[in-house]
């Protein structure tokens, strides 16, 4: 226990009752070795007039402090999600690039080189007793390169696991509707949960399609119907002629979900039911 950090006075010692900021600082950063009859001390010291006033002040201050702390911690979590989703994309991309190199290299030694990360993992795992010749023919550097691909692939998976664990804590409703990874991508594209919550639905619909939108605005292409939300089954799994409508419906619900996640944090299971119903209707009748 750090003696320096421990005083034996209540949180209100030295705090001006009219100065909320110093009160909040005292609650958050103060400390004491033992409890004491703080309400009585507060009255005796003249911090408040009576016990009931003390509890009133205490309620306001503790609530304000906790709210700020929660907001800060969630902001940190949002930043973490953004970094994780960007890192995951980076890691998956470079794993695929190096896997291509492994495949091209292995093609020089074997007649049947496979492709992709799975094949690189095979090369890295090449230890089976029945493939001794093959192992002998395997360049040590190629094995090592393949092991890098395997490690990157594992890293990508670990990042995905983290995203899937943390995103529903921070954005439960967006995660419910979009799945945690797409939710994380939307938050990352918007630059935060708050900025996502403040965007109009039409913008959310086109997040990740900025290039296509710019091409459209420059008169070089038709208007894009959807951005990253295309990967959602409710968009990509809807017939092309209704896809724009489905994207608009999904973006609408996601926008509501983001606002609830940011401003209240309640879980609203009914959002999912409403979205399900709306998409079913669009797929049936196109509206």
């Amino acid at each position: 226990m750090n003696e320096d950090a421990v005083s034996d006075s209540g949180w209100f010692r030295g705090v001006d009752p009219g100065d909320g900021s110093s009160a909040r600082h005292a609650i958050e950063h103060g400390s004491a070795e033992s409890p004491a009859a703080w309400p009585d001390h507060a009255v005796e010291s003249g911090f408040v007039d009576n016990r009931s006033q003390y509890y009133e002040v205490l309620h306001d201050v503790t609530t304000a402090v906790a709210r700020t702390q929660v907001r800060e911690r969630e902001g940190t979590d949002v930043q973490r999600i953004i970094h994780c989703v960007r890192a995951m994309d980076d890691v998956e991309r470079v794993a695929n690039e190096l896997a291509e190199r492994v495949s091209a290299w292995a093609g020089a030694s074997f007649d049947d080189p496979g492709t992709g990360i799975e094949y690189a993992r095979e090369i890295a795992d090449e230890t089976a007793a029945d493939s001794e010749d093959r192992r002998g023919a395997l360049d040590a550097r190629l094995s090592s390169l393949a092991a890098q691909v395997r490690a990157l692939d594992d890293e990508g998976q670990a990042l995905r696991d983290t995203i899937e664990r943390v995103t529903p804590e921070v954005a439960p409703n967006v995660s419910m509707l979009a799945g945690p990874v797409l939710a994380a991508r939307l938050i990352a594209l918007a630059g935060g949960l708050e900025t996502l919550a403040k965007k109009p639905s039409g913008t959310v619909q086109l997040l990740g399609a900025e290039d296509a939108l710019f091409a459209h605005l420059s008169g070089r292409a038709s208007s894009p119907k959807h951005g990253i939300i295309y990967v959602h089954e409710y968009v990509s799994g809807t017939a092309p002629e209704h896809r724009g409508t489905a994207a608009r419906a999904l973006a609408g619900k996601l926008t509501i979900a983001a606002r609830i996640d940011h401003y209240s944090g309640d879980r609203r299971p009914e959002l999912q039911a409403e979205l399900d119903e709306r998409i079913a209707r669009i797929r049936e009748r196109g509206d």
Binding site: S7, S9, A26, G30, E33, P39, Y55, V70
Partner: protein, 210 residues
Amino acid sequence: MTGTLPTGVERRRFDSNERLATRGQPVYGEPTDGDWRAWDIRRSKLGAMLDRGMETGLSGDETVLYLGAAAGTTVSHVADFAGPTYAVEFAARPVRDLLTVADSRPNLFVLLKDARKPEAYAHVVEPVDVIVQDVATRGQARVANENRRFLKQNGRLLAVVKARSEDVTADPTDVFETFRSQLEGYEILDTERLDPLHDDHLAVVARPTW
């Protein structure tokens, strides 16, 4: 049913079932009847303890330190019948819900603190009649020992020990025995397993020794 219910907690009929209830703003979608709201004992271990008549020593209007308040399901009922209620919770996410619970309960004080570090809230929390402990971390006995400083002379510790939080592979009976042996400065008055409502949970009533 040997224990008496504290003032402010009653058995009332909701949809033809008799259930525990307190008076207050509803929190988690529980049935209501006028001011009264049902206390869902499947979601609340303290509720289960009261329901099965454990002698908790609660009589109403106590000053309470609640360790591991989570989203507030149980602490909302406690604040309904108790006096000043200090709710300690370390995880940020459930505290968002806990704040909503506190909004309508002026006697509920939310502290985003670590229950393993009482010095960080001893400058706020006054000596209390009851500690309710429901933390899901390792070292649950240590949490009880560290927070003993908050209990008044004839106070009560109402702890729920979660076997899986200590060691998912160990036999719950062994975990409970370890908790008992590690508890220091307390006299255990009663213990009861909360199965089947709450598997692998042991309810403990204790008072501080002096």
